[in-house]
């Protein structure tokens, strides 16, 4: 089976500022994460802030250096040392950022911003062709020709995000990485952008990585989901499998934390499955990284790091006790 993206055992680390060279410490932002994506598929990457989900997305596009691991895009391995190969990757894989207006140059018209990738990668095109392609792409994201010569400040947040998407798809990439594309938008507008991504995925056969902290949004859009915590893969599964039969206690805690938006729960105490805050990524717990907040941790969880195991077709989980959750009743699942 040919995959658009096949990344194996990625590790990304950053030097910790302030330490001397002989005692240099590293922050492991992404620790041994593998993802695989076919045409038309969308992988949701979820987790709390600091879990490495954005770093993973950036690493896949070469925006932060990868320390170890391999990335294959449409079958060919990416060689990060070759500028030509990285350039090819950039043409084929694009990014949509969280801050819709911050990612557009305020002094350039929307048309100029959307045209930029074309000018870089297809310099032979004449102005007329570029303009036609820009208008066609803007129409594809629900804007129109009249918007071409306007400036970002004349647009609402939702419209700016449409422009960001237009700029990402104008080169017809195989993969787009969307980093929290709707979290800065108003609730009434979020759905418009999510639905647009779903529609483009169908029309263009895009593979999409959708980074989000909102599981309910992920459920609408994604075909599979990766749950990360402190840089590590906790669970990865096809959508329905993950939402209906979550195996990792952290996945279940995340699901239970989504406010049910149901006033019949008013005043009723929800079972809080996870206590405290994230530990420092500089000093993660020694065994399982989730151990310090997990209500089901036992002594082996504190000592030994769980390996990622195959729990079913496409269902990967890193928990010492996953077999118990699979066979036994799911304990304390609430909120959904």
């Amino acid at each position: 089976m040919s995959h658009v993206l096949d990344a194996r055992s990625l590790i990304v680390r950053f030097p910790v500022a302030g330490a001397a060279w002989y005692s240099r410490r590293w922050l492991i932002a992404v620790d041994d994460v593998s993802v695989c994506l076919a045409r038309g598929e969308t992988l949701g990457v979820v987790g709390e802030s600091g879990c490495g989900k954005s770093t993973l997305g950036r690493a896949l596009l070469g925006l932060v250096p990868i320390y170890a691991g391999t990335v294959r895009l449409e079958g060919t391995p990416v060689d990060w040392r070759s500028r030509r190969r990285v350039r090819e990757l950039r043409r084929n894989a694009q990014m949509v950022f969280q801050d819709p207006s911050g990612s557009l140059d305020p002094r350039r018209t929307v048309g100029q911003s959307v045209a930029e990738p074309l000018e870089i990668f297809e310099p032979q095109l004449d102005t007329g062709t570029i303009r036609r392609r820009v208008v066609a792409t803007l129409e594809q994201v629900g804007l129109s020709a009249e918007h071409v010569d306007r400036y970002p400040h004349e647009f609402s947040g939702g419209q700016c995000q449409r422009v960001g998407i237009a700029r990402a798809i104008i080169l017809r990439p195989a993969l787009i990485v969307c980093d929290e594309p709707v979290s800065a938008l108003d609730v009434s507008v979020q759905g418009q952008v999510v639905n647009l991504l779903a529609q483009l995925r169908g029309e263009l056969g895009l593979a999409c990585i959708f980074i989000s902290h909102n599981l309910a949004v992920v459920r609408h859009l994604c075909s599979s989901v990766l749950v990360m915590y402190l840089g590590r893969e906790m669970e990865q599964a096809p959508r329905d499998e993950l939402f209906d039969r979550p195996l990792h206690p952290y996945t279940r805690a995340l699901l239970a934390s989504v406010p049910p938006a149901d006033p019949s729960a008013l005043g009723r105490a929800e079972p809080v499955l996870v206590s405290g805050d994230l530990p420092s990524p500089l000093d993660p717990p020694r065994g399982c990284v989730f151990e310090s907040r997990c209500s089901f941790a036992e002594s082996r969880c504190r000592q030994k790091r769980p390996v990622v195991e195959e729990a079913g077709p496409g269902h990967r989980v890193a928990c010492h006790r996953w077999r118990e959750w699979r066979d036994g009743p799911v304990v304390g699942q609430g909120g959904n």
């Binding site: 609402s156 108003d186 639905n195 902290h213 938006a261």
Partner: protein, 324 residues
């Protein structure tokens, strides 16, 4: 008598390009012991309305109307009297917990300061109270936290400390402006639970400003929905969620992503975007995005009329038979 009584409150901001209305004449009433949520999208005026109630508007803001706190008129009150009223009268919790704590003061000092500003107590007594308060807001290791600086704490703990600081002078009214928005979901659930506990234990009056209907559902008894500087609907929480009357409320509820939605289906959204303040359409401000609009909506601003469970401002409110 209501604890907070707001009549025809208007807030305008002077800008280089003219005066921009942020709040366009709202009436509301908060009784002792109530828990009310003020809901709206960015630019709806929900935060500015409450900042005006506490006399905390930015320097280019001006107000009209009346805000009475426990019978006293707030608008136009001299700064010194306001200052006296603030701690024991109303406490504030903001979205940005790192910005609301002083970076170079230890947690203990900040909590002591917030008490000593309003009561003459010795440092020792104040510190002891600070510790009790940290325990009450469920900060682990309270004794150790007192000597730490804000940057040493995680986001969730910092928000708990900010809540403790607001509660130190025992305010009669606590106003929380998007208190969970900057937090991770797991921590968000903990803070909502904390507000519930505090209300049960202290019988505190709470006004929570948020854009997140999910947070509202589990916390508030009454919801006030704002759009473009005006109140469009008010109802008790169960009624609002089950039978919204204003098409905007119904649209917001439908747009809220839920885990119970069918998977893989398109999300629901309201077409268009909220109008920027200062460029409001004539008539009903929501009309250009509304599916129920007709000619009258574009001409006449609908009045806020009483309903069985609250108030609604719409020419064509949803009826019992309407699905949404």
């Amino acid at each position: 008598m209501a604890l907070l009584q707001v009549d025809r409150l208007k807030v305008d901001f002077r800008t280089p390009s003219g005066s921009v209305p942020a709040v366009r004449g709202i009436d509301l009433e908060i009784g002792e012991g109530d828990c009310v949520a003020l809901v709206g999208e960015s630019g709806s005026g929900k935060s500015q309305a409450l900042l005006a109630c506490a006399g905390l508007l930015a320097a280019n803001g001006s107000t009209a109307g009346s805000v009475r706190f426990a019978g006293q008129e707030i608008l136009g009150m001299p700064e010194r009297s306001l200052q006296r009223l603030r701690g024991p009268g109303f406490g504030f919790v903001f979205q940005d917990s790192i910005g609301s704590l002083t970076p170079h003061l230890r947690i203990g000092d900040q909590l002591v300061e917030s008490l000593q500003a309003h009561r003459t107590v010795s440092r020792k007594v104040a510190l002891a109270e600070a510790r009790t308060m940290l325990d009450r807001v469920q900060v682990s290791d309270a004794a150790k936290r007192l000597s730490q600086y804000p940057h040493e704490l995680s986001g969730g703990t910092r928000q708990r400390v900010a809540i403790a600081a607001a509660l130190m002078p025992r305010p009669r009214l606590l106003i929380a402006d998007e208190p969970t928005t900057a937090l991770d979901v797991t921590v968000q659930a903990q803070v909502v639970q904390l507000f519930r506990d505090l209300r049960r234990e202290l019988g505190m009056t709470l006004v929570i400003v948020t854009h997140d209907l999910g947070v509202v559902a589990g916390l508030a008894e009454r919801v006030i929905v704002m759009y473009a500087g005006s109140i469009v609907e008010e109802a008790t929480t169960p009624v609002l969620f089950r039978r919204p009357r204003h098409p905007y409320t119904a649209g917001l509820l439908a747009a809220l992503p839920r885990l119970t939605d069918p998977a893989g289906q398109p999300m629901r959204a309201i077409p268009g975007a909220p109008p920027p303040p200062g460029r409001l359409p004539p008539g009903c401000a929501f009309a250009p995005r509304c599916t129920r609009r007709d000619a009258s909506c574009h001409q006449q601003v609908p009045a806020l009329a009483a309903t069985r469970a609250g108030r609604v401002a719409c020419h064509h409110p949803l009826q019992r038979s309407d699905s949404w």
